[in-house]
Every structure is written in structure tokens, then in C-alpha cells.
Amino acid sequence: MYRFISFVIVIFFILVALSPLASAEAPQQQTATSTTSTPIKHVVNIFLENHSFDNIFGIYPYNNYTTNESLSTNLSRPLNLLGNSSLLSMLTEVPSGIFNTKDPNEGYIPYHIDWNHGKMNGFLNGSGPQGLTYYSAEQMAPEWDLAQQYGLADNYYAPQISESSPNHLFYLAGFSPVMNDYGPPPYVPITQSIFGELSAFNISWGFYINDTHASFPDWKYLSGHNAYSSHLQSWNSFLNQSSNGTLPSVSYVFSQETADTQGPPDNMLDGEMWLLYLINSIEKSPDWNSTAIFITYDEFGGFYDQVSPPVLDGVQLGFRIPLIVISPYAKEDYISSTEMTHTSLLAFIDYNWNIPALNALVSYSDIPIDFFDFNHTYSNGMLERSPQLFNSSSGFPVPSTIHFDPVTETSGYNFSRIFPMKPQIPFSTLPYNRTGSSDLNLSALGFRIYNRVNFGYTPLYETPGFYSILVLSQIIIAGVIYTSARKRGDFSGKKQ
């Protein structure tokens, strides 16, 4: 009996100790595909932090200082705050010269209070009054210009009503084994992520962060990443590859773990400067003519948004966040109302390289294909648009290096004069509508599914299952005490 108990305890401890170290499934080589469904040969995903759509683009493209009627009449009302003056009056415009606001309460609980089962009226009690703000062209003109020159989604959602970890995992792997940041660190085998799939199909990819020596959370989440360590590279490597025209097929560029994320307490200006430097370097690249850039945020950060998030294939999506799409094939001044989330970006990659949908959710996610026009020939005889560089001489805050010192004194900055930019192509000559949507997804196209089962996990010692085992062990201990006392005759009327 005692041997058995000892054996069970030893096995139990071994299981608990080893569970986080479970290795990922060995990568399987699949048939390589050399062709793409579109002229896009390079996808660059850029990831920022913690802002809702309404917080950054709520009043886009309204600008106190400049007007452009042809621009403003074609945009996303009624989802735009401009279409709801009573709502707008309850929010606070961030004053001129201010580029960051107090961090709203973040987390699964405050976000669910904000959401209030879709009523979107719990912000005061949840994330707090500091989340009831919105930026204007005075701060956001550089980003608004990117949206105006290319495309902006007004119906794009974070995958979860929660904070970073689960949303980051949806961005990388299309699912998450954890519900928020407070709990255990998640583990998703890298083979279950888009990176595992790309490797399996011999499609090149890179994971770019500021400092490859630092322990980067998103990389740590991908268990088995050591076998792919050559893909973990620095921003400098990305810039070199960009200037040499040797960008991989798929690049993930992270602002995280720096002051450039735009998530409070990081200010918006540093993030815009970083973004402009990156976009300019890609537009100057020999790879520009075959590149699509997707800029988005991990989640809404507790900032107000008016749109109740929908459900996608049984998954309650999180709050609305911005997505900007930049490409020589991107429609100009385009607003996409395609219902999307982070898995839509994965779906685009799978669609473009003709590989299976990463998982079932990805297969049901609409692809951001309506942003692009692959058929139009421009006046220069080219299918693609010329690069639209953002110069510091025109008032854009383009730094001299990507590793610039964070700007701490922002009171002198006001960008309202640089929005809107002159359209690259006169709107009247555009062969497409500047609003639209698409319901194209991989499931409808008959793509097979790569990961039929998602097996991301949480270490055993940090799960409710472990909790149950502890409770059960208490009951067993009680039983052992009872049994041994009974053997001793403690139940025959003897007193202690």
C-alpha cells in the first residue's frame, strides 16, 4: 500500500515537473509550392499594441485644419464616431501635443465588464474613464495618411475579449490555450503555428524583434522553437534583407518589448516614427513590387469602441481594432468592411501560397482580398503602384534610424497639417469603389485543413485539472487517515 502510494506520488511529481517541457511534434516536410495565388510574393505583418479602432480612427478622416470632402464622404459611416454625435460627446478628444493617455484597466475581467454581453456600456466600471478617449489628426495623421494612401479595415476584431497572450497566440497560431495574461504562460508547439506550416511547405519566413538576445514572450510561447532559431532575427536583419531584396516570403515584425508599441505607457509618436521608418524601408526595397504589409494591434487595450464584436465559428471575438493594408496592389483610400480577425491574416498567407488552412478557424475566416486590385494597369503601364514615400521634409516624423531615442517631450508635435495627402491617383479615375467587403474564405474555396486538432497546452501544474487532483488527494488522505484509525480501533469508543 505504502509502496503504491509512494509510486503514485513519484509519478505524479515527474509528470508535473516535465509537463512544460513536452516537445513539439517533429516538423513534416510537405510538397513545396512555388506559385502564389496573387502577385504578392512577400507578406510583412507588423504588430503594435493596445488600441481600439475608435481610439485611433474613430473620427477619421475629420480634421479641424484641413478638409477634403471627396475623402470624407466615402468613408466608414455609420461605424465611424462622426455618425453618432451623442456618443462622440461622451468621449474625450486627446488634447493637442499629448501622445499618450492613462492606461485603462486591462484584463479579461475589465474587458468583459466593458463588453457587458455586447451592450458595450460597461467601460466606466471596467477599463475605467481613462479608456473613453479618442485621438485626432493632430496625433494620428501619419497613420491616417497610411490608411488614406492604401487601405483600412473598419470591421476587424481582436480574436478574444482579453489581453495580450491569447490574442498574440491567435495572431501566430490561430488559437490559444490560455484566456489571459495573469495565469500560466501558454505553450503552443511551433509546428501548430503558421511558422511550422510555412516550414513544412518550404516557404521562407522570419520572426523579427528588436533584440534577439532578449527573452521574447511570443517566441517563448512557441515550444520547440529552438529547431527554428535561425528564423528569429533582429530588426536590422529585416532592414538589410529589405534593402537587398532578399525578404523572406512571410515576415513577422514585432514592436513588442520596446518603447515603440504605442500601448500605454508608450506614446503614439514613437510608434508612428518606428512605423514610418519601417514602411519607407520596405517601399524602397527591390521587393516592394510584390509585397503586402498588414499593420494591426494585438487588442483594444481597454479603449472605447462602439461596435459589439461578432462571433466567428463559435468563437466570441474581441473588440474592434485597426488594420492598415499597404501594398503596390492595395486600392487607394479603401475602406474594407470585411469581417476579420487575426486569423484572417493567416488565411491570406495560406490562400496566397496555396497551402492548407492552418486550422478550422482560419478556414472560416474571411480573407482580406478586397483590399487589392490585381487587374488594373496604371498610366505608367505597370500593374502595381509606385512607392509612396513619407519624407521628413514633408513634415512626417521619419527618424534617421530605427533605433531612435524615444521622444519624451511631445508638446511641440502637431501633425494635422500633413493629413490628408494628395491622392497618388485622382479618385475620379479609380476603376474600383473605395468601400467594399468580401466573404471569401478558405473553407468555401475547398482548402483542406492543416491542423485538425489544436494541441496547445498549459503545464499540468497550472491547470484546473491539477487543482482537481489536489482536491482529490486531500480526499484520499482523509480516507487513509480514516482507514488507519479504523484499523487501530479508534472507532470502538476509545477517546484521544
Binding site: 479579461y108 475581467i109 495565469g183 484546473p464 487543482y467 488522505i477
Partner: protein
């Protein structure tokens, strides 16, 4: 236990710090003293302590599931009290199996020390967690998880070995 039960998911919301700590402080003191004063070698009492604790912990788990982890303040206080029920059997075992009977002073000093130390550990973890930007909580507190299991296993082993030794002696005497 708070970590393994997912209760830990609730601690990142600073607006609920007061009801959470109210529950932890009340629960720690109530169950520590209850455990200390009811600690005896009577297996019924020991088993009852363990089962009461198990029932409370299951109730907490149920509350978290039913509310989908969005727990109102009053229920959060009650849950925090209940999750501290681990102190009841822990102190009962501590007194009966490890320390033996003591006077009133001993019965008061042990739970008082345990309660204060526990609250300090929880508060310390909270401060470290907040200072680290609300991340890596697992690395901060998972060691406490192991410590809890180790203490539980050590107490159980000690009790079993002691019991076995007593049984052996009585067999020899017979």
C-alpha cells in the same frame, strides 16, 4: 491552490483588489485559527476538516465556472474566504501530527504566524507581479505551488510513517 484553481486569473484587476484582499485576510485568519483550535488526533475531526476544505474549494471552482471568471465583488470576497479553507486541514494536521498538543498560547501563536506570513507572501507576489508589468506570474508563484504540494506530501508521509511506527510498536507489545 489559488493558482491551480484558476482563481489567480482574477488578481490582475486592480479595481477588485479590496474585496479580494478582504476575503484573503478574513479567510486566512478564520481558517487558521479554526484549524489550530480543532486540531486533534480524532480522525473524524481531521477528515471533516479535509472534506470541508475540499467542498469549499470545489465551490470556488464552481463559482468561477458559472460566472465565467467575471465575479462580482461580494462573491469574490466569499470565494477568497473559501479558497483559504486550505488552512483548516493544514493547521489541523500541523497541530495534531507535527506539533502535538499545546497550551492556549501555542494554539494562538501558530495560526497568527501562519496567517501573517501567508498574507505577506500573497501581497509580496502581487507587488512583484504588478512591478513586472503584470507578466510572468507563473514564474513568480509556481514555486509556491510546488511548495504547497511538498508540504502536503510531507505532512501526509509523516503522518503515515508515524502511524506505521505506532502500529509496529503495538504489534511488538502484543
Amino acid at each position: 491552490m489559488g493558482y491551480s484553481s484558476d482563481f489567480i486569473y482574477l488578481i490582475g484587476y486592480t479595481n477588485q483588489l479590496i474585496p479580494l484582499f478582504e476575503g484573503i485576510i478574513i479567510g486566512t485568519f478564520v481558517f487558521s485559527f479554526a484549524g489550530s483550535f480543532t486540531g486533534s488526533k480524532n480522525p473524524y475531526i481531521l477528515a471533516a476538516g479535509v472534506i470541508v476544505s475540499a467542498v469549499f474549494l470545489m465551490l470556488v471552482f464552481l463559482i468561477l465556472q458559472i460566472t465565467d471568471y467575471v465575479v462580482p465583488n461580494h462573491l469574490l470576497t466569499i470565494s477568497a474566504i473559501m479558497i483559504c479553507s486550505m488552512f483548516l486541514p493544514a493547521l489541523q494536521f500541523g497541530r495534531s501530527a507535527l506539533l502535538g498538543s499545546q497550551g492556549l498560547r501555542g494554539k494562538v501563536v501558530l495560526p497568527l504566524a501562519v496567517s501573517i506570513l501567508s498574507i505577506i507572501i500573497v501581497a509580496y507576489s502581487a507587488v512583484i507581479y504588478e512591478k513586472s508589468g503584470q507578466s510572468n506570474l507563473a514564474e513568480i508563484v509556481s514555486v509556491l505551488d510546488y511548495a504547497a504540494i511538498a508540504i502536503l506530501a510531507a505532512a501526509a508521509s509523516y503522518f503515515l510513517l508515524k502511524n506505521r511506527h505506532t502500529q509496529g510498536k503495538s504489534m511488538v507489545e502484543k
